[in-house]
């Protein structure tokens, strides 16, 4: 299968100019870990608030006006739509500025961009989510989407890791999923830590131990590039074919619409052709530039 | 000694260095892909040394490659280049023992742009450009045009103080005297200093409104060796990445201050500028200020501390309250 080439979804332009952001208000801020925050927001424009729709896995460009713009996936689920969410780590100019904002602050948002997860393809499959750190954000959107449409999917397995217990994002979700008997979740941290009774070890290693079956399964991987690089070989070992491995990638982006040039992997642009790819699509280039 | 003889010796030296394992790379010049043009040759292959050349068109200051080469390098250096190499040693960017310097006394390089202006033709329309001591003979369509050499050398060559390398392992060719002559009038420091101050600012404002921020001036400069340049910092954002004249000028002025005491007036920044901004009129002024204020000339002594890390207890206090 191939992931769809362009966003087939609706486009929500502030005007006929794709680069103009819509104004949105931050309604809630959750400190996930030191340095990672989730922002809940809603568009200022009433009509847009009602009409805006997106697919799990799509992203948007967020502006702190006067500072700049940066892309993050929409981490909330389309199935829960009273507000939108994104999560970001404080690492650069724009994210620092975002982290300085409080509830009620105004930001610019344009999108959604990118292809999103191939929901039709995933239907009727066993879903194996493999996430690391803040890489859970895009997976989370899909996980909630799958939970809210539980009948459409077979087993749901989540393998999620972070450096330390304090670095685990969306703990409130992890707790809820842990209690949900219809899904199987394994959390891990990189190194032993006081008070941690769960698994210890890097995500690819734990994945190998858990060894989910490749039969009728799709693995959906997101995390830091180094984790993604080491996860693919494990999945291959477990019998997953390139078409059964899906990842959502992060690259430096500016325009979000396949023009500014920097986010390509081979001929594919992460913003335009992704951010969701099958391993089959990117395997020629992935070892070298991702 | 003729260039062809220097070339022969150079090739022997370079070959021996590679064969004896004294260096991992040779950095020199070879014939370029355009008329008269030479291009850097960076090679580990001893057969490639046959391509090494010496000509009045060996414009590049090859020392810019030394900080990125992994291993020992045998490098060809003109007077100004050798001083750039010494700078890198002063700043602990390279170690003396990692470099074998094959010095070439340089009687000045021919600025094809000047000939283009004189003849109203582009360089690829010339049949030949040949230097005979103090004359340069250009042939176009079979017709010869003869210019005094001072009219066609680069401005920085006309004000060159040290045509002979200051540091070398082997000197190829006999020491030569500098050529002197009038630099391009329009952009000369003298001319600019004669302007009222406000006019001078407007002059630079005008020039830098053309700048497209390709950063060739910085990337070609052996003194600009920072791993990360201040223009690339985003926290704080010192300079906007948008090429407004204000930020373009701010970038270049700061760059010149940062390389003060390292700039050897090799002229590369100005030569490479695709927007014809007279960058040497900034760089050379800083070179002169450093000389006047501190009697310091860049890259003369590999054991001396870099200008801006050194001091003398009693010096320039007149501007301090």
């Amino acid at each position: 299968m191939t992931v769809t080439n362009m966003s087939q979804g609706k486009r929500f332009f502030a005007s006929d100019n794709v680069y103009l952001p819509h104004l949105a208000i931050i309604e809630k801020i959750i400190e996930e870990t030191p340095g990672v925050k989730t922002f809940h927001f809603n568009f200022k424009d009433e009509k847009l608030r009602k009409e805006f729709s997106f697919k799990s896995g799509q992203f948007a460009e967020y502006s702190v006006l006067g500072v700049g713009e940066a892309p993050f996936c929409i981490s909330s689920s389309p199935s829960r739509s009273d507000h939108l969410e994104f999560a970001t780590q404080q690492v650069g100019k724009v994210t620092n500025a975002l982290h300085r904002l409080g509830v009620g602050a105004e930001i610019g948002v344009r999108g959604p961009y990118g292809n999103g997860f191939p929901l039709d393809f995933l239907e009727g499959k066993n879903l194996i989510f493999v996430g690391g750190g803040i890489g859970l954000a895009p997976l989370r959107s899909l996980i909630w989407n799958a939970i809210d449409n539980r009948g459409k999917y077979e087993n749901i397995d989540i393998i999620y890791g972070a450096r330390s217990p304090g670095d685990l994002c969306f703990k409130y979700d992890l707790d809820t999923w842990d209690k949900d008997k219809t899904i199987n979740i394994v959390s891990t941290i990189d190194k032993e830590d006081k008070g941690w009774s769960g698994r210890v070890g890097f995500v690819p290693k734990v994945l190998e131990e858990v060894a989910p079956s490749a039969s009728n399964a799709v693995a959906i991987v997101c995390g830091p590039p180094v984790m993604i690089r080491f996860t693919f070989p494990v999945l291959i070992k477990l019998g997953f074919t390139p078409g059964q491995m899906i990842t959502t990638l992060e690259k430096k982006m500016k325009c979000g619409i396949g023009k500014c040039g920097r986010c390509n992997i081979g001929n594919l642009y992460v913003c335009r052709d992704g951010p969701v790819f099958t391993y089959a699509q990117i395997k020629n280039f992935v070892s070298s530039e991702y | 000694m003729k260039n062809s003889e220097i070339e022969q010796r150079l090739r022997q030296e370079a070959k021996a260095l590679l064969e004896q394992g004294k260096v991992d790379y040779i950095i020199g010049y070879e014939t370029g892909s355009l008329k008269f043009t030479t291009t850097p040759l960076i090679t580990r292959n001893k057969d490639d040394v046959e391509r090494l050349i010496v000509s009045p068109f060996i414009v590049n200051n090859l020392s810019v490659y030394l900080t990125e080469i992994k291993g020992k390098a045998g490098i060809i250096a003109k007077g100004c280049d050798s001083r750039s190499i010494v700078n890198l040693m002063q700043d602990n960017k390279i170690a003396r023992e990692d470099v074998v310097i094959m010095g070439i006394p340089c009687p000045g390089l021919i600025d094809l742009k000047k000939i283009e202006l004189l003849l109203g033709k582009d360089r690829d329309e010339f049949d030949s450009v040949i230097r005979h001591n103090d004359r340069a003979v250009t042939t176009i369509n079979g017709k010869e045009k003869d210019f005094p050499i001072a009219e066609v050398l680069f401005d920085n060559c006309l004000e060159c103080e040290f045509p002979v390398p200051q540091e070398y392992d082997v000197l190829l060719g006999e020491p030569c005297a500098p050529v002197t002559g009038e630099v391009s009038k329009k952009t000369s420091i003298k001319e600019l200093e004669a302007m009222p101050r406000g006019e001078r600012w407007n002059y630079w404002k005008e020039e830098f409104s053309r700048c497209i921020r390709c950063y060739a001036c910085r990337d070609i400069c052996p003194a600009c060796f920072c791993q990360r340049c201040f223009v690339e910092e985003s926290e704080p954002q010192w300079v906007s990445p948008t090429p407004k004249w204000q930020d373009n000028l701010m970038f270049q002025v700061t760059r010149n201050i940062h390389v003060a005491g390292r700039c050897t007036d090799c002229g590369e920044c100005e030569r490479v500028c695709p927007m014809n901004i007279p960058l040497r009129s900034l760089a050379k002024k800083m070179y002169d200020i450093v000389d006047e204020q501190f009697q310091y000339k860049a890259g003369m002594d590999k054991n001396a501390p870099p200008l801006l890390t050194a001091y003398e207890a009693a010096e320039a206090e007149d501007f301090i309250r």
């Binding site: 040039g261 070298s288 | 070609i220 990445p241 948008t242």
Partner: protein
């Protein structure tokens, strides 16, 4: 009967004046000794004497080094965003070289694909291109290897050919035909003029001596994508400046940044280059920190990725990158040295 027209070179001002009524006429000009297409002053036609090609490619007129995208202000109610529209000038570019016209066709594709780029496209809309065949190509030109030629009229509306004291004028598009029909002062071209033009075109073609073979280049590049040794050797002398990309008529990468002061500001876009390490640098990693990866990206984008996405090589053979390179890095040598598939 012949359909082409002609005009004496001395009278070129007369037709430019007519066109100037309807269009903003751009002609080869110099700013600080750097040539580019800029607004015609309405009089001087001396620019024709020295015009081989402009240093700044024609893309500069549609995709400038920087442009304001929108401005914003903050007051009690919050932010207000004010879009900037590039205006509705209808441009006529006179004496555009075939390579630059072909390059615009490539940019059109890139800026139209998927989401349309309003800034580029609104400037580009209604533009009329008056091509001028080259009779004196540079030694760096290699258009004939890129499926084009010094007299290629594929992407212009009207094509001029220098036939001595006169220009032969050929209509290429419907727009060109209409324009010629309403332009006064043009003479009917004679058979002999057309014969002369044919000769000139053939002679020019043969003057382009730099040749490369682009057969299967996309496949060869794909095969050597991981060939680090090759790319390291090819990129060794590159200094990672932005000249070749900024002054490339088909390169269109850009950056977006905000400037603000107190409660107002603006968002700008400006040229960016895959040659710069910072272009792809993220806080934690940079997929192209090493120089060879960046050089590979430049070559592969033009000769492999763009063709994969849009069906044509994103290089027109204008040779600017070779002419202007500080170290004479030569893309034709790079392409010629790509290893054969084994």
């Amino acid at each position: 009967m012949s359909t082409s027209k002609k005009i004496n070179k001395k009278d070129i001002g007369k037709i430019l004046s007519q066109w100037n009524q309807e269009f903003t006429v751009l002609v080869p000009s110099k700013e600080g000794d750097v040539s580019k297409m800029a607004r015609w002053d309405g009089k001087d036609t001396g620019f024709m004497d020295s015009h081989r090609n402009t240093v700044q490619p024609v893309k500069t007129n549609f995709f400038p080094p920087m442009e304001e995208m929108f401005s914003f202000q903050k007051d009690k109610e919050g932010y207000h965003i004010e879009p900037v529209s590039p205006g509705e000038h209808k441009l006529l570019i006179f004496a555009i070289r075939p390579c630059d016209a072909n390059a615009l066709a490539i940019l059109d594709v890139a800026f139209k694909d998927g989401y349309e780029d309003p800034y580029y496209l609104s400037r580009r809309k209604g533009t009329v291109l008056i091509g001028l065949g080259c009779t004196n190509p540079y030694d760096s030109c290699f258009c004939t290897s890129m499926g084009s030629s010094p007299s290629d009229s594929t992407n212009v509306d009207i094509m001029l050919t220098d036939i001595g004291d006169e220009f032969l004028i050929e209509e290429i598009t419907e727009t060109g035909k209409e324009m010629i029909a309403r332009t006064e002062e043009l003479e009917e071209a004679k058979k002999a003029d057309e014969a002369k033009a044919k000769q000139v075109k053939e002679a020019s073609y043969n003057k382009v001596t730099r040749k490369i073979d682009t057969k299967d280049i996309d496949k060869k590049l794909l095969a050597c994508f991981e060939n680090k040794d090759y790319w390291e050797e090819v990129s060794a002398k590159c200094i990672s400046c932005g000249i070749c990309t900024f002054l490339c008529p088909t390169c269109y990468c850009f950056d977006i940044n905000d400037d603000s002061f107190k409660k107002q500001g603006a968002r700008f876009r400006s040229w960016d280059s895959c040659a710069f390490p910072v272009y792809t640098r993220m806080p934690m990693e940079n997929p192209r920190e090493e120089k060879w990866r960046r050089v590979r990206q430049k070559v592969c984008h033009k000769f492999e990725f763009f063709p994969m996405n849009f069906g044509s090589i994103a290089c027109v053979g204008c040779g600017r990158c070779i002419r202007l390179c500080p170290v004479n890095w030569d893309i034709t040598q790079a392409i010629e040295s790509v290893p054969e598939i084994t």
